[in-house]
């Protein structure tokens, strides 16, 4: 019989070594995977972890691209982390990401082809508002009817996607696009284009905003009363109530904040790297961000690192495909291994496995023998990976 027991005082050193151990384990297991496919495992590991950062031919481009790829993940995950700490589960960031892009993008297209410095800021504001309003649907249903916000927010992802599909075949379709179901390309609309700030890097305003938000969230969580409320509510609902925290206000704030962040990320992505609305626009950033939030242990700096690590596996995975002719499926397995080992090692640092030699024969088990596995701080429901739509 095996049972799990929380460690009363998880070792701090072990906690710090967790990512290191997980990466090593992934390299080991991944090495076997690649060797079995006939690829030199050392080459594979080099291409995944080293080349995107230091390869002489591609790294000058892939280094900034890590930031570009990670920015939406990090922005969304930062927003989610507040709710997740307080026990408010917004699983529908993908939908808020889409709605942010739709509302922000529509605002830009509504004034097309007007030029002016006000166009892009207006789109950014509209994008954040779009995500915020979409997230207020589960918030209001939760406050008013106690509807489960996990289900409502998740289902609204599919609603948002179908609104997107409807709009790009209808109102928002590019009139000069040969009936192809996509909007005008914002990259060809100077005032609305979220252009790269440094030539050849792809780094756009969203990356700067991401960095500012990481700092801001860090400060709010540590120093602001809202951060205290969030942490308190997460530790004990009861205590939070005694401290005078209105759970309804907290629900609205957490969902609204995460929605606005997701909407913001959606707009930056739309007006920048993606360029246009189409049914290919959603790539699952909103779902992947849930993993990023938990990998980063809901801590802003941790989320920053987790987002960058995730981006590294995507970009390293692309390099591995064309440099070593590794199939995409193997790359996805490798990414999955990394997440698996991070969570597994994390788990073992916080819990220990006890082997009980004799199964209990009496029915009334002594108190304290129940496992507390249900309190594991693992990832919430969600879908991993970014599958093309």
């Amino acid at each position: 019989m095996l049972r799990l027991e929380p460690r009363p005082e998880p070792s701090r050193r072990m906690l710090a070594l967790t990512p290191f151990a997980a990466v090593l384990l992934t390299m080991l297991a991944g090495g076997f995977l690649f060797a079995s496919l006939g690829t030199n495992p050392l080459d594979a590991i080099r291409v995944f972890f080293w080349d995107p950062l230091f390869d002489s031919t591609v790294a000058s481009y892939t280094r900034p691209q890590l930031l570009v790829k990670a920015a939406p993940l990090i922005i969304i995950a930062l927003g989610l982390s507040f709710g997740f700490r307080a026990g408010i589960w917004n699983i529908g960031a993908e939908g808020q990401f889409i709605m942010g892009a739709i509302v922000g993008g529509s605002a830009g297209l509504a004034v097309y082809p007007a030029e002016g410095v006000w166009v892009f800021p207006m789109m950014v504001a509209a994008g954040a508002l779009g995500g915020l309003l979409w997230a207020m649907i589960p918030a209001i249903l939760k406050i008013r009817f106690n509807a489960n916000e996990i289900l409502v927010s998740l289902m609204l992802v599919y609603v948002a996607f179908n609104i997107l599909a409807g709009l790009v075949t209808g109102r928002l379709r590019d009139p000069d696009g040969f009936n192809w179901p996509e909007s005008r390309n914002f990259q060809a609309y100077p005032s609305a284009h979220n252009a790269e700030l440094f030539a050849g890097t792809g780094v756009h305003v969203g990356v700067i905003v991401m960095a500012v938000l990481v700092l801001l969230c860090h400060l709010v969580l540590r120093n602001h009363i809202f951060g205290f409320h969030v942490r308190l509510a997460g530790q004990s609902r009861q205590a939070a109530r005694f401290a005078g925290i209105n759970p309804h206000v907290l629900t609205a704030l957490c969902l609204g904040l995460s929605g606005a962040f997701a909407g913001l990320a959606g707009l930056f992505e739309l007006a920048g790297p993606a360029g246009k609305l189409s049914t290919n626009f959603p790539l699952g950033y909103g779902f992947t961000a849930i993993i990023v939030a938990f990998l980063g242990r809901l801590h802003p700096i941790g989320i920053l690192l987790a987002g960058l690590l995730m981006a590294l596996t995507y970009i390293g995975g692309e390099l591995a495909q064309f440099m070593l002719n590794v199939p995409a499926a193997a790359v996805q397995v490798f990414q999955g291994m990394l997440l698996f080992f991070l969570l597994a090692v994390d788990f073992l640092v916080n819990y220990r496995i006890r082997v009980r030699l004799r199964p209990p024969e009496d029915t009334g088990a002594a108190p304290g023998t129940e496992t507390r596995g249900d309190t594991v701080n693992g990832p919430g429901p969600g879908k991993s990976g970014e599958e093309p739509a």
Binding site: M27, D51, F178, N179, L298, E318, P327
Partner: protein
């Protein structure tokens, strides 16, 4: 949560640790040819055939070339990054094999004037960007002819991807051929808004069969519909690949894309230094569009007439769009004996008379 700095230290150490085992890339003077695929090479449809073309380049040109590919690349920012990485890492010829790669291809090509790009099915070109496509509609005339003969319910199901000219043209071409041999034929069309999603494609096939279709055609990339057709005992056609193994009894014939000769020729042109930007739109005659073997379940006379149509198109004596043809709203499009011009075909945004429903817009 005070351990963030330690996480940072840990991650940095991990990355540096791997650096020790990293070796240097070995440079060589083979021509590096890259391929960007929208689906997995194992889709047994569109991407599979492009990858067969890549393998043909390797087989034909041997150690003068080195090919590589990235599969399942979403159309958008990710595609642009993959192409940039390929160009940076020394690829001199890059095939981008989906319509949605058009803008990314043009963007990246502008940054790398010395790299040659070949974009499939698009319409934007540059000094270092060629476009190429196949006249798939010619194949659809042949299978439309077979479908018109084979349907007993007179309902033909059509799984359509996106309402772009390419797909609309295919529907019109298949419909005209079916209608010519079966005046009662009716097309039911489901738009799935994806090139590759076996789940959606299978659902669409099931829905069409439930609506009475006994022949399924598709303009999507996976063999999912073929599998459903086999299960439900209706007919279907291989799309992009032969797909025989997915519907040994259901499959009547197929439209096979054969990119190999084009890919070999274009790669050879780069090797010879004769590569120039151009637009290619080839059909049955040079073999870019191939008609798969006819099933024994097709009556012999239909097999013969289908073969005659195929050979007529190849010889140039037949054209898929020969008047008189009216538009869906009844207004005349082509007069008696008139043949459609390529520009109208390339921008086709209307159904021909008799096709029911609206193009989604």
């Amino acid at each position: 949560m005070k351990n963030s700095r330690r996480i940072l230290a840990g991650v940095t150490a991990a990355i540096l640790g791997i650096g020790i085992v990293a070796g240097a890339a070995i440079a060589d003077d083979k021509l590096k040819v890259g391929f960007v695929y929208v689906g997995p090479v194992g889709d047994f449809g569109w991407t599979y055939e492009h990858d067969q073309g890549r393998l043909a380049v390797e087989a034909a040109l041997g150690d003068k070339v080195e090919t590589s590919y990235v599969e399942s690349v979403p159309e958008g920012a990710d595609a642009e990054r993959v192409m940039t990485q390929m160009a940076l890492s020394g690829h001199e010829l890059i095939f981008t094999t989906s319509f949605g790669y058009m803008d990314p291809t043009i963007n990246v090509a502008a940054k790398f004037p010395d790299v040659k790009f070949e974009h499939a099915t698009g319409y934007k070109r540059a000094d270092n960007v060629s476009t190429y496509s196949a006249r798939f509609y010619e194949g659809r005339t042949v299978i439309g002819h077979i479908a018109g003969h084979m349907t007993e319910s007179n309902v033909i199901g059509y799984i359509a991807s996106f309402p772009i000219p390419e797909v609309v043209r295919g529907i019109n071409s298949a419909y005209l051929a079916a209608k010519a041999v079966n005046p009662d034929v009716q097309f039911k069309i489901i738009w799935v808004f994806t090139w590759f999603d076996p789940g959606k494609e299978a659902d669409a096939a099931t829905a069409l069969i439930e609506q009475g279709a006994d022949v399924i055609m598709q303009h999507t990339d996976s063999p999912a519909a073929m599998t459903i057709a086999e299960e439900k005992g209706v007919y279907a056609f291989g799309q992009a690949s032969d797909m025989m193994q997915f519907g040994p009894t259901a499959r009547l014939s197929s439209i096979i894309d054969d990119w190999a000769p084009y890919y070999v020729a274009r790669t050879q042109a780069v090797l010879d230094g004769t590569w120039e930007s151009m637009d290619t739109w080839d059909g049955i005659e040079p073999g870019m569009v191939e008609i798969g073997e006819f099933s024994d379940r097709i009556p012999e006379d239909v097999r013969a007439s289908a073969a005659a149509i195929r050979d007529g198109i190849a010889a140039g004596t037949l054209h898929s769009f020969t008047g008189p043809i009216n538009r869906q709203d009844g207004t005349p499009w082509l007069a008696e004996g008139e043949i459609a011009d390529d520009l109208t075909l390339l921008t086709m945004d209307f159904y021909v008379e008799g096709v029911e429903g609206d193009i989604p817009n």
